[in-house]
Symmetry: C3
Subunit: 338 residues, 3 copies
């Protein structure tokens, strides 16, 4: 019998995802108590967090469990991630050992690890979380890795269901936005997979050079086709927004220039107009397309204040839904009644 | 119906403050259990803490709840605090969004934010915590802001009541002390407000240039007058200590030189003799005035070892009382029986 | 009636240690629940931790209690450790005050403090944790100090008992290993004391200049003699490993060069062959001596991958046993049924 990790939404059967979303809805209505008594979640944050940390810590507590927060390189040891490394440098503990040990203390281990390297062909293998999963005897939960942020994807799906009702066939516009930094692609890939899971017509707008990883595009397409939706790529924001029922604004870095920070910054220097504004939002379906973002958002850079604070913004509901989907996920993965 | 924040002691009705102090006394005697089951407190520390963090975390736990600790700029995202900012710099998340999101995860949100700026006319508006309060749908608790440290004030009041009995008309000497750094005025203002709340005769000793903010002095005076006490300012420590029933030693920076670190340091360079010593303490009422400090204290700089470790020191009781008043405050603000 | 601290294993009666180990075994079998309801452990980490923090936090939670984590110099104030210091420098709070205050909030206070100084004759007095213990009214638990890591020692003892059955008279080889840094001697001293407590024949292999502190050697010898074991020192790894039932690989710095980082590094530059390899392990009893390490381990530097990942490695069991012995220790020290 093998353990079940939650590293990417597409690793789970669509029915299992729907079950989690249905349970999250019941949890949000206050119907579910307990189920995680004497359960421990160890969370390893190799990168910062506000929502993820708070919502998981609250989720465990609200059902009787406890979340431990570890920050390698800060309060905890710096982790070495390369298998077979001769560890005479800065890494004090190997993730293999951290994974094994935490698997003895906790009922599940959750890991956040952003890309750090220079080479996308290496980074795209998502080795850190995969190595953690391979060496930990308990289930692994992805708190955002190089390739995926599946808990955000679950929250996005729940928010779309709540706001749009049956989302099938509705138009989901994922649009690139300018940002001072080259961000990871985990969130846009996961958001598109979530919308595809709901059978939406996914339109992705991005400037030249900002395509998602081809494998991610294939997964989004496959998911959309199976669920009755579609995927289209366009090269300007307005075209994506026309008639959209939901707009997901998000920045990410150019994968062909991955790890080349200056070249990437130069490449994007002419793209500051990729910002979600009120006039752009007016192009959506009846001008009332919902506005989504995973947060943290660069206000007046990715999205204007009046859009974020306007009547169509659901970004805070999205963040709240992190709590509910994670409570459902934890109950499904390590709860007592499963 | 509006939520009730706890940003400054004077925001609450004096009767409500007395109720919290009375409840704290019963809690200290072990009479109160539970009341915070399934309640979550999110604590946002923009600055370091030992007592505040430990005592709030213990307070929540002892009544069945849970406190989450977030450290923006360390484990959590760096926060932007300016409304309307074009966020293309170092701030990753706006406090508006952090406030809204945490309000969805927690039953109350507590914030520590020390002054950082150059201009007191701006800093004195205490914008960070006020903005947090304006955008969070749950009650805000002040863990020390630019202007106030009201939980310390509650602990100071409880300690004065415990040690002096009916404190009305007794002499409370707040005296400036030298310190290597220009510290905030939140603690001395809050301590004086607490003593004024108890109807004490408040004497504030400070060197030239070290007056508290005029608005704070007005609030202290108004509070004292309403409660039957008084306020006097003197310019040397000895005069304040003469006959005092309680001595509160504390350093703070010169507001006219706020943000001018070198000029302020120069200005204070001749003031190292402002230190609470045994001979100075002998001037108090029967030489037995109680010695108070909020901690952390610079030993042998603000206060001498023999005073801090002597029979009249109540600084550890003051720190202990943080726990009891905060348990009472939390029960009043988010408890199940209120 | 004086409080009982746990700073070193040899401070406790051997029978008390055996009671803790026996209770840990019952806990590991799932026989013991509760006992720490409404109990608070304050943990002060002056240095990083993964196992210690996670396992204590889990231990408190699993029995109904709560652990608070403080990190002086990071989220908490930088601590001054010198008694009588005129605190006009970097130290913001004195450990005397931190110890007193935390003793008011918590039922026990646990402290991690690695050596930092230049002079072993000073450091060997283990002043930080001793000062903490002297000024805290609640029991102190050592999370690794300059001289001892007694919780690791307890876990080592439990692991030896589990894997070797009656360990009396069996051969315990503690061998020095090369490491890029001059590490503390707390772990090797504590491991040898643990093996001596079990009545094992302890053999310590170390290069010239790497003797443990003479007082530690005396304590190990005394413990071994009382329990029916023995202690021998040898100057090469192979000799220690010959016929060993357990091999404990560990690096530590040369005490005669304590605090002289460059000289120490130079001294050890010819010692990289002190590494635990498969051929070396083959010299143990039937080639099946168990392999121990406290973790974190520098893979392929202190110990080779194939040894750590091989069938004789018990390093993860050792780490797991931290949890069980600490649950037992906490129940004994602050539990409700003691």
């Amino acid at each position: 019998m093998s353990k079940r990790d939650f590293i990417a939404m597409e690793d789970f059967d669509p029915i299992a995802i729907d079950d989690i979303l249905a349970l999250a809805t019941r949890i949000k209505q206050g119907e579910i108590n307990g189920g995680l008594e004497r359960k421990v979640l160890a969370m390893v944050f190799m990168d910062p967090s506000l929502r993820t940390r708070s919502s998981f810590e609250a989720a465990m507590f609200l059902h009787g469990g406890h979340a431990i927060v570890l920050e390698p390189g800060k309060g905890s040891w710096t982790l070495e991630t390369t298998l077979g490394a001769v560890m005479d440098g800065a890494g004090v503990e190997h993730i293999v050992d951290a994974a094994r040990v935490l698997g003895r203390y906790a009922d599940a281990v959750a890991v956040r690890t952003f890309p750090k390297g220079k080479d996308w062909s290496v980074e795209r293998e998502d080795r850190t979380i995969r190595t953690f999963a391979a060496h930990c005897e308990k289930p692994i939960i992805n708190l955002e890795s190089t390739r995926r942020h599946p808990c955000q994807g679950l929250a996005d799906a729940l928010t779309l269901e709540e706001k749009l009702g049956d989302a099938r066939g509705k138009r989901f516009a994922l649009t690139w936005a300018w940002h001072p930094k080259a961000l990871p692609t985990a969130v846009p890939a996961s958001a598109a997979i979530a919308a595809a899971h709901l059978g939406m017509n996914v339109v992705i707008a991005r400037p030249e050079g900002y395509d998602l990883d081809p494998e991610d595009l294939s997964i989004i397409r496959r998911q959309a086709e199976r669920q009755g939706g579609s995927v289209h790529l366009v090269d300007n924001m307005d075209e994506a927004l026309d008639g959209a029922d939901a707009v997901y604004a998000k920045s990410w870095g150019a994968l062909p220039l991955f790890g080349q920070l200056e070249a990437e910054q130069q490449h994007r220097s002419t793209l500051r107009h990729w910002k979600l504004t009120s006039p752009a939002l007016a192009r959506t379906n009846k001008g009332a397309g919902i506005v989504m973002h995973c947060l943290p958002v660069r206000r007046n850079v990715e999205v204007d204040d009046d859009v974020l604070d306007g009547p169509h913004s659901v970004v805070v509901d999205q963040a709240e839904n992190r709590l509910h989907v994670q409570r459902a996920l934890l109950l499904e993965m390590i709860g007592k009644t499963r």
